[in-house]
Symmetry: C2
Subunit: 352 residues, 2 copies
DNA sequence: TTGAAAGCGTTACCAG
DNA sequence: CTGGTAACGCTTTCAA
């Protein structure tokens, strides 16, 4: 130890750059290094006298416990990985902020990983594992093999708006299908007879679920010949999709169901601007998500809002539970979306 | 070492939960631990034979180098902190995605910190320091003392859209004032004579700069009696601000200058919906940012777009340079915004 | 090319 | 309550 102390001393004198360690503090305070460590812990057993000396020494040196070193010995990094695809964030930025803030209330930091596309996850997962995160929240889907890899490392995972069929996983999601089914039901009940659907990116499972939900309900209600055109969640693709619908159908549909709000807005604009249609008088358009712009007066979308607040709270508490209690069995929490009757579509309930 | 090996062996047999370490791999491959370490590095000096044995052993055990431990010894965590305020992310989500992706291209992970308000930064900074990040990008302002603290820890900092007056710091920003001055100049040249300004949150330095820029230019052009009403960057506050303007001024101004696009959109909606005004025929409205909704056909804002791509690229490369070369002198990079002539305002250049 | 051993800065366990 | 010492999992000399 004598050697270490000497070294530390030299360093602190020579270069102010080196961050102070607990040894430096110990020396200055005239106590042992373990004492310093204890002072900076919760259930510390330290006399008032020592505590004071340590604290003042630490203050003088600008000492802060090294969270990395702590993580190494405690086997807890107090970091979780949050994996989101570009789409998730751009069209729903609140998710990330909410997750980060709630985790931080529990003393947990967020290591962020973004994917251009969901399929890019392989490399990212490797990184996640190297950083010894205590848990993972993923808004991208994992393959069986990937899930196994991460479970072998005994890192709990929460799927955000994804779920693996036939697999015991933890997930928090908004019931996309239920939401779409409600929208379709409302539209049909209000008298709409012909439909077109604007789907989202193919690698988005959320978009798939929404489209499937809408199609199922339409089928149940005996509505056929539904045109499906592809979009990418973006505004321009919404406009293009509407143009495509118009081109492919002899007469315009009574209603257009877009896989998200942004594309629904694109459809509204294209309908109005290029075709001089009135929304909802000439055509009804619905979206999904409940993002900010959906409430702008020019659009006032009928849509289903994902309860982001409750969902992120659920994700955070589920993950923390599983970090602290690794044996916990998997749980899926499904939230219903909030139903919003806007002015962009004539819905049955809106007519009352 | 014999003891360690034995321990490792026991662990790997007893509990599959324990992550494999380089010792485990070394034992299985029949080589030394240092050899394993070398194989997983860049300029490794290892024979083909050994490399193969190590790699296959590692594969069998699902071994991955522990980035935390590596960081401890190398004094490089390969993590940077990104500090953003809630506002930054909600109204400009691209910033975060861009930063994260560009950093990740350089093998650097982003540890995310979000602030409800810029003044909450104290606690956050403490966390940042504990996590031994290699650098910081902050979209929140720091006090002198805070900056000193972080510089004492010799952690390079890049200010994103902030700058400390009278202080040598690294910063990347969009020239808010220049942008506003251009907008005002255009409006005046097009014949607008009376103005109102909708400012953003008081704790947002960006909003302050924009308001100041607009006011200065108006003053230079001899335009007086400019009404300033307060907003919070949100849509609803834009609507409320417009209502307030109407209430406080005898006759409506020729033009409204909003501190960001979202509030400008709120103004447009309030003008149209509540007051049956035509935009821009009856009143011109301009924003700032160039966010997605600004381009929606219903609004088509005249605005100044922040070049997020170039700005985040600049921030990333500046930070990496300073991590790798701590002696580098401070640099400020100021980008001009892209000028967008939209349909929400009658501008001089738009009339040509 | 390879292996042994010394750290990195902490916590955890054990005597005193 | 306190101090000494052994990990945590890795990189990095330094010999062989």
């Amino acid at each position: 130890m004598a050697k270490r102390l000497k070294l530390a001393k030299e360093n602190s004198e020579r270069s102010p750059r080196k961050r102070a360690t607990s040894y430096d503090v110990a020396e200055l305070a005239g106590v042992s290094q373990s004492a310093v460590s204890r002072v900076f812990q919760d259930g510390a057993s330290a006399s008032k006298d020592m505590r004071d000396r340590v604290l003042s020494a630490a203050n003088k040196l600008g000492y802060r416990p090294n969270a990395i070193a702590r993580g190494l010995i405690t086997q807890r990094s107090n970091m979780v990985a949050v994996v989101i695809s570009r789409q998730t964030n751009l069209y729903y930025p609140e998710v990330l902020v909410q997750l980060t803030q709630r985790f931080s209330e529990h003393g947990i930091r967020v290591l962020l990983f973004t994917l251009d596309h969901e399929r890019d996850i392989d490399g990212v997962l490797e990184q996640v594992l190297q950083y010894q995160v205590d848990g993972v929240v993923t808004a991208a889907i994992l393959s069986e093999a990937q899930l196994e890899t991460i479970e072998n490392a005994s890192i709990p995972v929460i799927f955000y708006n994804r779920t693996l069929p036939e697999r015991l996983v933890n997930s928090v999601r908004c019931d996309q299908e239920e939401g779409e089914r409600w929208l379709v039901g409302q539209l049909v009940a209000a008298g709409h007879k012909t439909f077109a659907i604007v789907s989202g990116p193919e690698d988005s499972s959320v978009s798939m679920e929404r489209t499937r939900g809408a199609l199922q309900k339409l089928k149940e209600l005996n509505i056929k010949d539904v045109l499906i055109v592809n979009g990418d969640y973006g505004y321009a693709s919404g406009r293009a999709a509407f143009a495509e619908i118009q081109q492919k159908m002899k007469t315009l549909p009574d209603a257009v169901i877009a896989a998200n709000d942004v594309m629904a807005i694109g459809c509204v604009d294209e309908a109005r601007e290029t075709n001089y249609l009135r929304v909802p008088e000439d055509i009804s358009i619905v979206g999904f998500d409940g993002v900010g712009p959906a409430r702008y007066a020019a659009y006032d979308l009928s849509t289903v809002r994902q309860p982001v607040g409750r969902m992120s709270e659920a994700a955070v508490s589920m993950l923390i539970e599983r970090i602290e209690n690794p044996g916990l069995s998997p749980e899926k929490r499904v939230f219903s979306g909030d139903r919003i009757l806007g002015g962009s579509a004539i819905l049955a309930d809106g007519e009352k």
